[in-house]
Symmetry: C2
C-alpha cells in the first residue's frame, strides 16, 4: 500500500469535485482528485443533458402533430425510437467526452483512481493501493437513484435515471414513479414519443410546484398528457412476463417498464464518515454549514449532490468552487469563508415549463402576491402555448422575495426573476425596465403591475 | 364649425397617443384624444402581432420538415395558405378589438374623430367640424410605409406592411425590399411557408445587426433560407401580367408580389406643423428633446413612431406616458420633466433571433469585447439550433455598455442584457448570479467570462 500526503483530498470527479479540485489547485495547494467510475458527471451522463435531448425530440413530434392548429398540414408522424435514442446518446457521449477532456487537462499527478473510504479524521484509503493523508477533504460523491421496495425484484423491467438512457428502443408502456422535476420531464417526453405513460406520486404536486393555484393548473395540464395518479403510492410490484404488474391503493396496472424517479439520495454511506468526527444525522449525512460547506466537527467540506441541498448543476459547480477554496484555506490554517448563498432556482423543462425561485410559495410568510395568467398573455396566444400562470411574492415593503411559475418560457422568465430576487430589487424598480413586445417577459410586467397596485 | 378648448390635445389614437391621453387624464387636466382611421394600433393591426402569428405558423412548418433530424419521421408537410392567414387574422382582429375596448372605456366626451391639422401654435382644426384650442399638444401620428419609386406603379402587386396581412392566400413568389427587422422576419416566414422568396437591400446588414462578425454570421445563415441580394438596390419595376418584373444592378427577376419593407417614415407632413413655431428639419420633422419629448419652440410633445426615434411598442407606450404627463405639466404652467431614457432595445423574431442592446457595436468606442458562440453552446446543440454568436461590449472599468447577438432565444437573453446595461451592472457582478443548466443563458456567462479574463 502506497502512502501519500496532500493538502486537499477531493473525493468524487463529478461537477462539484472537479470544480473543487480546480479551485484548490488555483489556490496553490497540493490537491488530489480521487475518481471512482463510471466517470462523466451525473449531469452529462444521466441527468440534464440526455433528458433535454429526449425532450427536444419529443417536442418535435408533438409540434408536428399539433401543426394543423396553425394551418400546417402534416402527414403521419412516426417516432423512430432507436433513431431518437441514438441521437440522444451521440450528443450525450460528446458531452461526457468533453468532461473527460477537461479532466485530462489536469496534471496527471493530481489524480487517483479508486474508491475512497475514510479511515480517520485526516486519512483515506483508496481501494487497496493507497493511503492518503490530507489536511482538508472535499466530499463530492454525488447521488444515486433510490429504488422503492416494491420495485426491487423487477430485474431489467426496472429503469432508473442511471439506466433509462441506455435503452435501445422505446417501451410500449411505462410507469413513472415520482412526479418531481425528473419524473415529470421524462414522463411527458415518453408520452410525446408515443409511449403509453402513467405517473404515480403519493403527493399532490407536480415538478416541485408549491403554490396552490399553480399546482392545480399543473394537474389539469399534465393530466391531458399522460395518465396521472396523484396521491397514489405504488405498494406492490411483480414480474409479469417481459413486463411488470404494479398495484396501489386504488388499482393495478401492467406496464412494460417501470422508471424509478423518486429521488437521488446522496452517496454518504459506507465511506467511513463515522470515523472522521463529523456529526452525522440519522441518515448518515454530515451536518454542514450551507454557506461555508464545512461539516461540523471535521476538516471536511461537502459539495454538490452529496449534501442533498440543491441538487442542480449550477449549485454543484459553485459549491465545488467554494469547497475547494475553503479546503485550501483550512489546509493553510485559515478559517473558511462563508459567501452568501445564491437565490434558490429550480426548473423543469416540461411543456409548459416550470420554475421555482427563492423557494417559491411560502404559506406562512407575510407577502403580497402578484398574479398573471398565461392563458390571456398575447405572445403565448400567438404561439398557441397559452396555459399556466405566474405568481410573484413580495415583502410588504415591495422587495421581490420569491416567485413560481408554470408556463411557456419559464426557464427564461425564471432567470430574470432569480436575478431580481438575488439583487434585492423592488417591484417599483423592476417596472422601470423595458419589456419588449410581444414577448413572454411582458407577463412579468403584468404580475409586477398587480403587485404595484397593492403597494399603492 | 364647433369651437372647443382643452388643456391637452392628443393627435393620434395608437399606442403612444392612447398612453399620452390616459396620462394626461390621470394628471387631472382636460385632455382630448383625436382619432383618425383606420383605428387599432400599428402593432396590433399591421406590426408586431400579425407578423408573429405568421412566424409561428412558418416555424411550425419548418420544424415539421426538420423533425427527421431528431428521429421523428413526418409525412408530407403542406402549408394551407388560407388557413394560416385566417388564423393570423383571427388573432389579429382579437388584438385590435382589445385596443378598441380600451378606447371605449375612455370617457366619450374626451374623444374626437377626424383628421387634425394645426392652424397655429395653440389651435387645431379637425376635419371641417371642430376648432380646438389647446395649451399643450401631443403629436402621436405614427408612421406609414414608404414605397420606393420603382415600385410606385405596381398596383395590387405591391404589398406594404399595411396591406400584406390582408392577403387571402400566399403568393407563389415574393421579393422583399429591405432586410431590416420587418423585412427579415417576413421574408423568412414567407420562405418557410413555401413562398419562393428573394430579399434585396442596398446595405450589407440583416435585421439591424452592426457587429462585423455577427453581420457575417447572419449573411451566411439567412442566405440558406432565401435568395439574399445584399448591396443590391432595386432600380426598375414594372407590371408583368399578374406579377412584377424587378431590375437591379446585377440582375432582373419576376415575382408574383413585391413587399416594400424599407422603413416607415413618420406622419409629420401636411398637418400644419410649420404654423406651430416648432423648428422643423429638412424632412419636416420637429427637433425635440428625446427625454422630455418637447419640440423646440412650441408646446407640442412628440411620441412614438411620429418621432422616428425608437419605433418599437414598449418605447411608444413609455413615450406616450411621458408626453402625456409633460403636456399636463405644461398646460398647468410647469416645466417638462426629463426622465432618463431606457436602454435601447431592438429585437428580430427570425430564427435564429436577433437582439441589439444599447445600440450594439460601436466601432469608435474604447470597449472590451466578450465573445460567445452558439455553435458550441450545449443547450443550442441539444435543441439542434446551434448557430450564431453573442458579443458583449464593456467599458474599460468593467461596466456592461451594450450587446448584440444572433442566436436561439435572443429575445430572452436580450432582456437580461438590456436590464443589466440599464442597471449599470459590472461584469464581475453579473457573473455572481445563477445561470441554470442547460440553458441558453449560460451563453451569457461564457461571454462574461471572456470579458472577466480581459479585466484581470
Amino acid at each position: 500500500m502506497r502512502e501519500l500526503t496532500c493538502d486537499v483530498a477531493v473525493i468524487g470527479a463529478g461537477t462539484a469535485g472537479i470544480a473543487a479540485h480546480r479551485a484548490a489547485l488555483d489556490a496553490g495547494v497540493k490537491s488530489i482528485l480521487i475518481e471512482q467510475g463510471p466517470g462523466g458527471t451525473t449531469c452529462a451522463r444521466v441527468g440534464c443533458m440526455p433528458s433535454k435531448l429526449l425532450i427536444t425530440a419529443a417536442n418535435a413530434a408533438h409540434g408536428a402533430r399539433e401543426a394543423h392548429r396553425l394551418g400546417i398540414r402534416v402527414g403521419e408522424v412516426a417516432v423512430d425510437g432507436p433513431a431518437v435514442l441514438a441521437r440522444m446518446r451521440h450528443w450525450r457521449d460528446r458531452f461526457v467526452a468533453s468532461v473527460f477532456e477537461g479532466l485530462d487537462r489536469l496534471p496527471a499527478e493530481t489524480r487517483l483512481s479508486g474508491r475512497a473510504v475514510f479511515e480517520g479524521p485526516d486519512r483515506l484509503r483508496i481501494d487497496d493501493h493507497t493511503r492518503l493523508r490530507f489536511k482538508a477533504a472535499v466530499l463530492a460523491t454525488g447521488s444515486s437513484p433510490s429504488v422503492p421496495d416494491p420495485l426491487q425484484d423487477l430485474g431489467h423491467r426496472l429503469l432508473t435515471t442511471d439506466t433509462v438512457f441506455d435503452m435501445e428502443d422505446l417501451p410500449a408502456s411505462l410507469a413513472v414513479l415520482g412526479a418531481g422535476p425528473v419524473g415529470l420531464e421524462l414522463a411527458q417526453a415518453m408520452a410525446r414519443l408515443g409511449v403509453e405513460t402513467q405517473v404515480f406520486d403519493p403527493g399532490d404536486s407536480l415538478g416541485g410546484l408549491s403554490d396552490p393555484d399553480l399546482k392545480a393548473a399543473a394537474r389539469e395540464i399534465f393530466s391531458q398528457a399522460f395518465a396521472l395518479h396523484l396521491g397514489a403510492k405504488v405498494e406492490r410490484g411483480r414480474v409479469d412476463g417481459d413486463g411488470a404488474r404494479l398495484g396501489w391503493d386504488g388499482g393495478e396496472t401492467r406496464v412494460e417498464r417501470v422508471l424509478a424517479a423518486a429521488g437521488r439520495p446522496p452517496n454518504v454511506r459506507g465511506i467511513g464518515l463515522e470515523l472522521t468526527g463529523a456529526r452525522l444525522d440519522e441518515r448518515g449525512s454530515p451536518a454542514h454549514d450551507p454557506r461555508s460547506l464545512l461539516c461540523e466537527g471535521s476538516a471536511i467540506l461537502i459539495a454538490g449532490d452529496a449534501n442533498a441541498d440543491r441538487p442542480v448543476l449550477h449549485e454543484a459547480s459553485r459549491q465545488g468552487r467554494i469547497a475547494g477554496r475553503n479546503a485550501a484555506r483550512i489546509a493553510a490554517g485559515e478559517g473558511a469563508e462563508r459567501p452568501e448563498r445564491w437565490v434558490a432556482l429550480a426548473m423543469v423543462f416540461s411543456e409548459p415549463q416550470i420554475a421555482v425561485i427563492g423557494g417559491g410559495f411560502d404559506e406562512g410568510a407575510d407577502r403580497l402576491v402578484g398574479r398573471a395568467d398565461f392563458c390571456d398573455q398575447g405572445r403565448a396566444q400567438v404561439m398557441d402555448e397559452a396555459q399556466g400562470g405566474l405568481r410573484l411574492y413580495a415583502e410588504p415593503g415591495g422587495r421581490l422575495a420569491a416567485a413560481e411559475l408554470i408556463g411557456p418560457g419559464a426557464e427564461h422568465l425564471g432567470h430574470i426573476l432569480a436575478h431580481a430576487v438575488q439583487d434585492g430589487l423592488d417591484v417599483r424598480r423592476l417596472r422601470e425596465r423595458p419589456f419588449y413586445h410581444p414577448t413572454l417577459e411582458e407577463g412579468l410586467d403584468t404580475a409586477l403591475s398587480d403587485l404595484a397596485d397593492q403597494l399603492r
